[in-house]
Each structure stands twice: as C-alpha cells, then as structure tokens.
Amino acid sequence: MPGSNGSSNGIVNRIRRLRFDRDEMTQEELARLTSVTRQTIIALEAGKYTPSLDLAFRIARAFGVGVEDVFEYRK
C-alpha cells in the first residue's frame, strides 16, 4: 500500500495519504469528523495505535472510501 504507515501488529493505514488527497484535510478536521481527539489521529498516523472496528469504519466513511482502502493487514 503506497504511502502507508504501519503498526507493530501488522495493520498499516493510509490515513495521512488520504488526508492530503482530500484537499490537505487537517488532523483536527478528521478528528472532529470521527469524534476522536487529534492525538488519536496522530497516534494512528504514526502507527502507534490500532483503532477499533467502529473507529476504522468512521475513518473510512470520513474519507468516503471502504475500510480496506484505509487499512491493510500485512502478516
């Protein structure tokens, strides 16, 4: 997955890439759309936190894509 950020449990995400593709959406904006704090978005982008299924769907919905377009399991 190009432009992806990985975490230690094998789940990688493209949140940062998708944010920039959406007119450089800010972390604050994404946090507001997904009802989390900006620190959680920072942790997700850094691959330091794996979201719940619920949050994963909310993030995908915020970008208007499917979950598999945002997250990928690599193991």
């Binding site: 946090a31 009802s35 989390v36 704090t37 620190q39 959680t40 942790a43 330091k48 949050l55």
Partner: protein, 136 residues
C-alpha cells in the same frame, strides 16, 4: 494536551502536594501520627472530574476510545504495583512482628500510602503511555 493528560498531571500534582503537606505537618507538629493528617490533601483528587468540563459543555470530545484504553491499562499497572507493594509490606510486617499485631495507626497509614501509590502510579503510567503513543 488531552483531557486525560491534564487529569494525570493534576493527580500527580496532588500526590506531590501530599508529600509536601506530610513533611510540613511533621516539621510543624513533630509528631509522625499528626503528620499523617497531611494525607488529607489526597482528597483533592475528587476534583478530577471537573477537568475538561468546559470542553464537554462546548460539545468537544474529551475522551475517546484510545484515552479509555490508556486509562484502563494504566489502572491495571497501578493495581498490580499496589498488590505487590501491599503484599510485600504485610509479609515484612508479619515476619518482623512475631505477634503479628498491627496497630490501628499503622493500618490507617498503610491505607493512605496505598491510596497515594495507586494514584501516583496510575497518573505516571497514563503520562508515559500518552507520550509513547504520540511520538511524531
């Protein structure tokens, strides 16, 4: 800084203030029993839910799923530490004291110290986990 971090800093501040109060009480009264009255400062921890109230009223997110996960994990670390410490102190007291008699004073001091320890470890764990997860 998230609301969770603010809460942790607040608790840590109260814990430090408690130590200062106990030392000050001991200096003033010269009695270890009366100095334990300084532990009453720990009661300020009850004001912790007030943190983030303004953000909540504005309709902002105060705690999300990551904060709750950190909160629970820190709680487990604090409880584990407390368990080990209390068992160690009680075992040491039982070994050192053949009659196995603990005074009411020592019991209340043990309770206060346990409360102090759990709050201090809890807040330090929260701050440590928040810091390790937010590395840019």
């Amino acid at each position: 800084m998230t609301v969770l971090q603010k809460m942790a800093w607040f608790i840590l501040g109260v814990c430090l203030l408690t130590v200062v109060a106990v030392i000050a009480c001991y200096r003033i009264t010269g009695s270890p029993a009366r100095a334990a009255g300084g532990m009453g400062v720990l009661g300020l921890c009850g004001a912790q839910p007030l943190i983030g109230l303004r953000r909540k009223r504005r309709g902002e997110i105060t705690m999300d799923e990551r904060d709750h996960a950190i909160w629970q994990k820190a709680g487990k670390i604090a409880f584990g530490t407390l368990w080990v410490a209390v068992v160690a102190v009680v075992t040491a007291a039982a070994v050192a004291n053949e009659k196995a008699a603990i005074s009411v004073r020592a019991l209340s001091d043990l309770l206060f110290c346990a409360m102090w320890l759990i709050m201090a470890v809890w807040s330090l764990s929260i701050l440590w986990m928040c810091r390790s997860q937010s590395a840019r």
